[in-house]
């Protein structure tokens, strides 16, 4: 399911990112790569997301979050 459907405080495992190679590469450098464990710190239903990955907090725009599939 897309990251947008994950509730606050829930952990998930990143499955895939729907985007160009450049984008996937950039996300990978931030630690967001398939298999990475993440926790949704904030998802208020609108506006951007905050996720915790590898101990850092990362803001992800809602549009971007819809293209990140997790399980």
């Amino acid at each position: 399911m897309p990251l947008t459907q994950v509730h606050e405080g829930t952990r998930a495992v990143l499955k895939s990112i729907d985007g160009g190679r450049q984008l996937r590469g950039r996300m990978a450098a931030l630690g967001l790569l398939p298999g990475a464990e993440l926790e949704v710190v904030q998802n208020s239903g609108r506006g951007p997301f905050v996720v915790a990955v590898r101990g850092s907090r990362i803001v992800i725009g809602r549009g971007m979050a819809a293209r990140i599939l997790v399980e």
Binding site: G31, R57, G61
Partner: protein, 635 residues
Amino acid sequence: MRRTSSRNLFLTTELLEIGRPLVVVLNMSDEARERGLIIDHARLARRLGVPVIPAVGNRNQGMDELVGAVLDVATARAHLPGTADMCRDQGPGPGSLAMPQRASRDGRVDYGPAVEGAVARIEAMLPESPHRRWQALKLLEGDQQVFGSAPVEADRPAINAIAAAFAASTTDDPDVHLARLRYEHIGRLCGEVVRQVGAGRGTVVSDRIDRLAMHQVWGVPLFLALMYGVFAITFSLGNPLMDLIDRGFGWLGGAITGLWPEGSSSHLQSLLVDGIIGGVGGVVVFLPNIVLLFLAIAVLEGTGYMARAAFVMDRFMSKVGLHGKTFIPLLIGFGCTVPAIMATRTLETRRDRLITMMVLPLMSCGARLPIYALMIPAFFAPQWQGPVLWIIYVTGIVLAMLGARLLRATLFRGENTPFVMELPPYRLPTARSLAIQMWTRAWLYLKKAGTVILGAAIILWCLTFYPKPREGWVPPAGDSLPAGVPYEQLTDPAQQQAAALSYSVAGRVGRVMEPLIAPLGFDWRIGTALVGATAAKEVFVAQMGIVFAVGEADETSEQLREQLRARYSPLVGLCIMMFALIATPCIATFAITRQESGSVRWALAQSLGLTALAWVVTFAVFQVGMLLKLGGMGS
């Protein structure tokens, strides 16, 4: 830290792979200790193959060791011929074998047999170089830029075949795959060198603050309150200091005037007092405001709040096709457009940078405030003064948003840049780093005043001072000048000055411009002052003072306000402010836009586009106002 440092070590391992000399600094090592983390830096150094120095930057701890290590690494390099200049040394050169072996053998990321085998095969096809392993890795990822950036004479089809076979063997992209392997390597490395003793309070406090700062409902009001605080501090603390500087320049002008006998009209005296002190002083006066605004912004940045502001604003910015980060330069634009345009460097794509630069001058900068401060009390009753100022600022913001939206839909079409940004943990900025930032800004501003503004002030003074009226010239009658009296026979020095100005280059330019600006409700006097405003917006006020022959004028001049009230209606006053808000940004903005966009065309597009927009908006405001019988020019 075990987890935070893994993100940072990612970059370190990439840098190590490139094969450049490196010293790793573990900054904020006090913070790590507080969080119960012990890092075996000697072991980390052995594993990375480069010196690792623990340090506390803001307390100067570890600086001597760092300098020593940098010198060691730099001199070790220098002793190896051919490796000092890494860019030149791409081909096989004498002595270039030694360093990379030493530097990367230990620190090398172990990618496992599949990758290492492919890398070894590509490496064998590349010419000897310290960057060979890195080049091979990049080629394996399918990055063709390596071929472009370094003249590598290699068997491209064979290399591409290896890369293609590797790509086919992995389930995800080759670069993502390598990133994963690198993170795995870093995970093992951290397991070896980092020990956690006791519970870390780490991100708990940060998350707790974020619960409010990034709250769905309270985030925006908190942000607005902080912004209000920033402007309140800027103006309430800044104004007394401004008065002080203003008085200082007034005293200086008086002292220099006193060097000449009374009533004399020396050109040099006028250049020094009216041109240089008036022009430069009028700009330096805003130094306290600028410094305070930047102090407030430095605090917001230093604590980490700025990233949260970008988060909060993203919801609104995404509506115009920009993302939250764009908001930071726009905010700085209320202080001064020049550093704001420099701040667009934090944006990732050129498209976002250019859009932001183009609309940035619409965020009403501090230099435009004196114009409003002169005009608003001249034309509007006290209860209307606040709302009028608000309307002007909001007009700028709305136009900037519409402009961005328009550019996004025409010149810069395409998908939204994905908004991804790391949130730094909150921390207290040190007084020293704030002082350094403040000083840098203040110095930049003073340098601008001493160069661009000084030059512009001298040129403008010449334009308003020359040519001198020839003998027997009869100035056209006007409200401040009697009819049919030759220039020499004018007795009032203020009238003399006004007549001389209308004869000067600036006066003539104003007259030539008049047909162009008449539909906006402006006459030649306003045109003349607007020409001056292109040097620096605040020059407009001083120019109006000269045109209306009231002599020394600043934005508190009641005499000038009376003249304005007698000649123009409040509608024209509003139009002047609208035009000053939107039209041609100052010379400094033009220069910085050219520098930052890398092309004079963007700077020209910005200036001409905004001036055209200013004309259209002011025309609309004036003509609609006239239809509504709000009054035009006074007789």
